[in-house]
């Protein structure tokens, strides 16, 4: 074949060019048109050769049709345009010299075959590609599924292994899935849990908003909520949880599930309750303690109008003795028994019993009728204590003193109420114990002063608030001043001058009497020396100083007294110590020994307030006393004239008895001359009283003595 212009080769290329121009616009190839033409050229050659072959083979057409598909001419339009081209140009460009009729017939048959070949190839390619993409999709799904499976396995491990309970329910509350932790918390099997509805899990302690939050969540109005919630376990025990419920939505945002995460807080809660219990209860008796009681009292006092409160403040009488004699263990057992009995007394709503500490208990009643109830409560308590308490095989009789405070809520603070109750209780105790007293304001005020004095006492001595007045002792025979009794006074910054009756018992109680007594002794002895120095000619003045029971038992008594006398350079004979009759009742030798030693040294001992106690007169012999001071009650009747003859007889008897025991007799409270005369006649030795002089500063005594000496 020739390649020259218009030769067969050139004509074949022109056919391929026309064909490629017709089909290229409908192909998807990324090749250029000339490149595409190069792909078509061999196909055109095959058609050309088939057209002119000695033996005609239409299958060449099939191959060309299939090759079009391989060249990415997959659009049906590409076939249509190819067949148009072949029909119009194949015979024209490639059929030179042949029988035109025969060539046309061959061209037609080649076209039919091309169509069939194209269709088959396209079908196969389509199927292959569909197969390939399906396989790819399947494989991808496999990979994804595997990854999902791994993910799910991980999620499942998290779900199952989580220490917190996880549960999923639908929006109607039907439980769909729960994890092991949740089952363990509830103590149920998975089967039991399946199909349960969360709405069944109400509990009386559910907070009011709990189910409101739930409703909002399932309605899609809330994304999550957090509550503390209790559940009943099947065995009836209670499970406490920290519960967080979240709403799960589908991809379109519609509510789909509810997810519950719960943490078991039962033990923590119990611990909290226990800690709270321990903080508010007394370890020994199990009763509410001071803290708890104050909370309740505060609440009661803060209650609304018409509400009242009643408080019984109980202190056991003589509990210290039990502790001291039987030991603390026995004391504790006694308190436990008392606590049990008290608890049984206050069982009504609004009533409570608490232990404030030691042997102090309180019972509280609240409500509108406490005026009446509190008396009954106190009576019940007194009653409950009647039966002896058996401790270590001993039957102990327990008595108590109760202070009652009752009143309307909203007027006083808890501290005020408790103080009033405390004061009232002490009043009951001072009145002998084993009784209850009702608080009254006047008594409170007195006690408050007493309380104030007690606390002010220790500093008063340091601040020099005490001073001493002296009341002369006059010899009845010649009316001369023989000495004076030292009487201590307290110049209180607020209350003014207080007599010993106001503060000596307090000082006794607090133990301050020892330093105070020493101070008085020092001052008095120093005063005695001063008198001696300035008034030597009038004879020695004796000083009488009171000794309290507490000082009597103080081990330093003798030494202190000796020191004081020596330091002042005063003879023991110038000192008389006055001891009350009651302090010496039943005194044994140990108690009397210091007095005896003082007496041996020359110090006079006077038995003060003689006649008020139940003195065993026979006992007088045994006591190291040299003077009897007759109580003023004997002399009072002698203020009138004529005096009661019985009184006269008694005094006469006492004086006679005293003198027969070599005791001098001093009388107190002499207020009239007649009295003095009478007592002189009866044989009394010395006297003191307003008739002679009231207690006064030391200078007054000096003056009196001088008058006496000169007069």
């Amino acid at each position: 074949m020739s390649a020259g212009p218009d030769g067969p080769e050139d004509r074949l290329r022109r056919f391929a060019t026309i064909w490629s121009r017709a089909v290229f616009p409908v192909t998807s190839t990324s090749s250029t048109r000339p490149e595409f033409e190069e792909q078509l050229l061999p196909l055109a050659r095959r058609l050309s050769e088939a057209l002119r072959a000695r033996t005609f083979d239409a299958d060449e057409g099939r191959a060309v049709g299939a090759a079009l598909v391989t060249a990415h001419c997959t659009d049906p339009e590409a076939l249509s345009r190819s067949l148009d081209c072949v029909d119009a140009y194949l015979v024209l460009y490639c059929g030179a010299g042949g029988d035109q009729e025969d060539l046309r017939a061959r061209s037609s048959r080649l076209q039919h075959a091309m169509a069939a070949g194209f269709a088959q190839a396209l079908r196969e390619r389509t199927l292959a590609e569909q197969e390939a993409i399906s396989a790819a999709a399947l494989k991808a799904q496999g990979v994804v599924a595997q990854a999902l499976h791994a993910t799910e396995a991980r999620f499942r491990a998290v779900f199952e292994g989580a220490a917190i309970g996880i549960g999923i329910a639908d929006l109607s509350g039907q439980v769909l899935q729960v994890n092991g932790a949740l089952l363990r918390m509830f103590g149920v099997s998975e089967q039991t849990m399946q199909g349960r509805n969360v709405m069944e899990w109400t509990h009386p302690e559910d907070a009011p908003q709990t189910w409101k939050l739930y409703d909002e969540l399932v309605r899609g109005e809330r994304e999550h909520y957090h509550v503390e919630k209790a559940f009943y376990r099947p065995d009836g025990t209670v499970l406490w949880t920290n519960l967080t419920v979240s709403l799960l939505r589908d991809p379109d945002g519609n509510p789909q599930y509810q997810l519950a995460l719960m943490e078991d807080t039962t033990e923590r809660r119990l611990l909290n309750l226990r800690l709270r219990y321990e903080a508010t209860h007394d370890a020994l008796t199990g009763l509410p303690n001071r803290t708890f009681f104050f909370e309740r009292l505060e609440k009661a006092l803060g209650a609304g109008e018409g509400q009242r409160f009643g408080l019984c403040y109980l202190d056991l009488d003589g509990f210290k003795t039990v502790n001291d004699s039987l030991g603390h263990a026995a004391g504790d057992r006694l308190l436990v028994e008392v606590a049990d009995r008290l608890q049984a007394c206050a069982t009504a709503p609004g009533e409570m019993v608490a232990r404030l500490g030691g042997d102090e208990f309180v019972a509280l009643t609240t409500g509108p009728d406490t005026e009446h109830e509190v008396d009954e409560l106190a009576a019940r308590i007194m009653n409950a204590l009647i039966a002896p308490i058996s401790v270590d095989g001993r039957e102990l009789t327990v008595r108590g003193s109760i202070g009652i405070v009752e009143g309307p809520a909203g007027e006083r603070s808890p501290a005020e109420v408790l103080r009033s109750a405390d004061i009232t209780m002490y009043r009951a105790k001072s009145a002998g114990g084993n009784r209850f007293e009702l608080a009254d304001e006047e008594a409170d005020a007195r006690a408050i002063t007493r309380h104030g004095l007690t606390t002010a006492l220790p500093t008063a001595l340091d601040r020099g608030e005490f001073f001493i007045e002296y009341q002369p002792l006059v010899h009845l025979g010649d009316g001369s001043v023989r000495g004076a009794e030292a009487l201590v006074r307290w110049l209180h910054p607020q209350h003014g001058v207080l007599g010993p009756d106001r503060f000596i018992p307090l000082a006794e109680h607090t133990g301050l009497i020892v330093p105070l007594g020493r101070w008085v002794l020092e001052q008095s002895v120093r005063q005695a020396r001063e008198w001696r120095e300035r008034h030597d000619d009038a004879g020695p003045l004796r000083i009488n100083v009171n000794l309290s029971p507490c000082q009597l038992t103080h081990p330093g008594l003798v030494q202190d007294t000796v020191d004081i006398l020596e330091r002042a350079g005063v003879e023991p004979q110038s000192l008389c110590l006055e001891v009350t009759e009651s302090a010496l009742i039943g005194a044994d030798d140990d108690l009397l020994k210091p007095l005896r030693r003082l007496a041996e040294m020359g110090v006079d001992i006077a038995l003060d307030d003689f006649g008020t106690g139940y003195s065993n007169l026979a006992n007088l012999r045994r006591l190291p006393v040299s003077i009897l001071k007759l109580d003023r009650s004997f002399t009072q009747s002698m203020q009138q004239f004529p005096a009661d003859p019985v009184d006269l007889k008694i005094v006469e008897g006492i004086v006679s008895l005293a003198h027969s025991l070599s005791l001098a007799v001093t009388v107190e409270g002499v207020e009239t001359g007649a009295q003095a005369e009478q007592l002189r006649i009866l044989g009394c030795d010395t006297a003191q009283g307003w008739y002679y002089a009231r207690p006064g500063p030391p200078e007054r005594l000096h003056e009196l003595a001088l008058v006496d000496a000169t007069g």
Binding site: T32, Q130, A136, Q141, V144
Partner: protein, 270 residues
């Protein structure tokens, strides 16, 4: 919430995929009815869509050959989709037998198909990864095995960036890739735009809406917006132009009018 790294993207072939739609435009049968339905809908607004895809393929072919001529034999083709024919490795390996190609796609079906197609080809592989996570791509074993990051690489981002919304910061990802590749590397890029489409914009929007409906929004960017992707690159002649104008083999005027939609360009780092 961010999907955890170990939770795979789900696969749902009842949802159209841009890779398979692309294959359909190119006359392939690697697609399902959902894909064809979406493609047909898009073509109702822009009948010449297949011509745009074809122009993309033709540009890519010329660009790959250009890169090989410039001495680059390593290719990183991100968003490769379903390789029907005339793929990067075919073009590159025809031009240089030792050319290395790593394809990247986040569509698990495209990845699975690519794996099947590339089986037995030692010079090409596919990574299942996301354009927006360049570190994952660069750290993949496929990249490690096939690509020497100390030598220039041709990075192909052909018809992919218009599927990334600004809020996902495609510029940042492209810059990160630029910085990771050796000096002398190339960026080969095409991008859809309203500019050049032989239709009124309102009509072209119909197609954009179809992509929005299949939750694969098509982001039409301006020429300036597209040019920003080449920050740090020197543009290769003739710059950022309609696809048929980029170093054509044949007269551009012979091309279908749709082929001029959007822009193509090649840049190179110094």
């Amino acid at each position: 919430m961010e999907r955890p790294a170990w939770a795979p993207r789900g696969i749902d072939i009842s949802v159209p995929s841009v890779s398979r739609i692309y294959d359909y435009y190119l006359g392939g049968s690697h697609n399902f009815e959902v894909d064809r339905e979406a493609a047909r809908k898009a073509m109702e607004f822009m009948p010449g869509l297949p011509k745009i895809m074809q122009a993309n393929r033709a540009f890519m072919r010329r660009a790959v050959r250009f890169a090989v001529d410039e001495g680059i034999t390593q290719f990183l083709d991100i968003g490769s989709g379903i390789p029907t024919f005339g793929n990067v490795h075919e073009v590159a390996q025809a031009a240089s037998p030792d050319a290395r190609v790593v394809y990247v796609d986040h569509d698990p079906v495209a990845v699975a198909h690519s794996q099947a197609v590339l089986e037995g080809n030692d010079g090409a592989d596919i990574v299942a990864a996301d354009l927006l996570k360049p570190k994952e791509i660069l750290a993949s074993s496929q990249v490690e095995d096939l690509i020497d990051l100390n030598r220039p690489v041709a990075l192909l981002l052909v018809a992919i960036l218009h599927f990334v919304e600004d809020e996902d910061d495609p510029y940042e990802a492209v810059a990160e890739l630029r910085d990771a590749l050796a000096p002398g590397s190339m960026l080969v890029l095409t991008h859809a735009s309203y500019e050049g489409i032989p239709l009124p914009e309102e009509r072209a929007k119909g197609t954009v809406d179809v992509y929005k409906d299949i939750r694969n929004p098509l982001i039409m960017r301006s020429r300036d917006g597209i040019a920003r992707f080449f920050e740090g690159y020197d543009m290769v002649e003739p710059g950022l132009v309609p696809m048929p104008h980029w170093r054509p083999d044949t007269a551009p005027e012979d091309e279908d009018p749709y082929a001029f939609s959007g822009f193509a360009g090649v840049g190179r780092t110094a």
